[in-house]
């Protein structure tokens, strides 16, 4: 998968949130977005998902332009901002409801995804009774459950304890190995550097620098 972001701009309420961003992202790599709050990281992720209509430029995924040829990426797993699910259903039931839309994910994979993030598939507790950390884990499980080619995670380490962060790192390494393209933002600079192949630094809606991480 290749994502070509060509000179994209976006304004909201007269304020520019993305300014002339051009990037090329390739599968099998983790791209870490670095920047302060309001720098445009989440908006860039939304643009790559097709969730915002651009004022200028285009995002093409394998040559197909978002919002022109396709509405959304064909295979994408997303965790943007706080995860929300059906309050009265368990984690397993929520994932089953979600995966039923595409209808390609077997039950074993749902259980496996829950176990990977440290949730018990047999747990009957409804989502509304989950702790913040459990909610975040379910959000991550929802993003990875269908083995997407494009994985977008906005602050996935929020509310996670140290052990869970290590589990997440393992999941991301596996996804990269499988050839997924991962776009990640994280407040912890150390974690971001550890996980990313390339770091994209943003400020005020622009990309200020982009560099490869040396291992």
């Amino acid at each position: 998968m290749v994502i070509e972001i060509k000179d994209i701009t976006k304004e909201l309420g007269g304020q520019p949130v993305l300014k002339n961003i051009t990037l090329r992202l390739e599968s099998g790599k983790v791209y870490g977005l670095k920047g302060r709050n309001g720098s445009g990281k989440t908006m860039l992720m939304r643009a790559v998902c097709g969730l915002i209509r651009l004022d200028g430029g285009e995002v093409a995924i394998d040559g197909e332009v978002l919002r022109r040829d396709i509405s959304f990426p064909r295979s994408v797993g997303v965790l943007i901002e706080s995860p929300g699910f059906i309050g009265g259903c368990s984690g397993y039931e929520n994932l089953r409801t979600l995966t039923a839309i595409k209808g390609t994910t077997p039950d074993e994979r749902i259980c496996e995804s829950l176990e990977m993030v440290g949730l018990d598939p047999q747990e009957k507790k409804p989502f509304r009774k989950y702790s913040l950390g459990m909610k975040q884990k379910l959000g991550i499980a929802a993003a990875i459950v269908e083995d997407p080619e494009l994985l977008i995670l906005d602050e996935p380490t929020n509310a996670l304890d140290e052990g869970s962060v290590q589990e997440l790192k393992k999941i991301l390494r596996q996804a990269r190995k499988r050839g997924s393209l991962i776009l990640l933002s994280c407040h912890d600079a150390e974690d971001l550097m550890e996980l990313s192949d390339e770091v994209i630094e943003m400020k005020d809606g622009t990309v200020t620098s982009q560099w490869s991480v040396e291992r």
């Binding site: 909201l12 969730l51 509405s71």
Partner: protein, 275 residues
């Protein structure tokens, strides 16, 4: 049909199923509300009308609304409580999931739907079905009440098929169609302005419709008394139904166009950025 188109149609069906599960049938207890309003209506009328009323009377009287308010006669504009509660709550529950695709499970579903157009189809189908169930719960309660308390004889069922009975049917179906129109336009306004403005916009439309008897204000068709008045004024039921169908179609088409062009951002996000 090619395999691709078949797969697409199946995908569209699955996203509809998802919308029905997460928006229409979620919190199914909400459909007890119209049933309770209808039951209250029946109990009150049983006390007042006693055995003089049959099932068609109960059905006809439910959500009949108010006649045109004539300010020149110093008439006071007072909205009937039961009628208002019925629509305020219906629009509230519609509004709760009107823009569910901007975050959480709804956004996940939107991305998995593959096409914004499919998602919109699921939204408006869900909206229409939600309105039908809302009304259905009320009508069913009235029917059950009449069968068990008042007693529905063979003649009652026959009277519903009689020309006058058809009139009753028309009076039952036009409000449902009007409520569907308002529900669809609530979805459209929510897309453009946000969930809360969408909700209050529709409340305003309903209240303005209750004050002014005009054929182009769809809220009038929610009141059987107004339908009768307009019929008396020369607007045939066929024309009313045609107008509402055009409004419904226009809402569906407008929504589909906006859905493909809009930003799928939470309302708070849009407002925050407007500083």
């Amino acid at each position: 049909m090619s395999a691709g188109r078949g797969r697409d149609a199946y995908g569209c069906f699955r996203i509809m199923k998802h919308e029905l599960r997460t928006a229409v049938f979620a919190n199914g207890w909400k459909y007890l509300i119209p049933a309770a309003i209808a039951l209250h209506h029946c109990m009150v009328n049983l006390r007042v009308a006693g055995e003089r009323w049959g099932m068609p009377d109960y059905l006809r009287d439910f959500l009949k609304g108010i006649p045109t308010v004539r300010a020149e006669n110093h008439e006071t504009f007072l909205l009937p409580g039961g009628w208002m509660a019925f629509f305020v709550l219906m629009l509230y529950f519609q509004g709760k999931t009107a823009k569910n695709y901007t975050g959480g499970m709804g956004m996940q579903a939107l991305l998995r739907s593959g096409r914004a157009g499919y998602f919109w189809r699921a939204k408006w189908t869900g909206c229409i079905l939600g309105v039908c169930i809302w009304y259905g719960a009320a009508y069913l309660t009235i029917v059950l009440f009449c069968v068990t308390v008042v007693g529905a004889h063979k003649e009652v069922w026959e009277s519903l098929m009689h020309p006058d009975g058809r009139e009753v049917m028309l009076q039952l179906l036009l409000p449902v169609l009007a409520a569907c129109v308002i529900g669809i336009w609530q979805l459209v306004f929510s897309m453009c302005a946000g969930s809360l403005p969408g909700l209050f916009g529709m409340y305003s439309l309903v209240i303005v419709s209750a004050y002014f008897t005009r054929w182009y204000l769809p809220g009038n068709y929610l009141m059987k008394l107004r339908v009768e008045e307009m019929q008396g004024g020369g607007v045939s039921p066929g024309r009313m139904a045609a107008f509402l169908t055009v409004m419904l179609t226009a809402g569906v088409l407008a929504g589909g166009r906006i859905m493909k062009r809009m930003d799928y951002l939470p309302d708070t996000k849009t407002i925050d950025r407007r500083r």
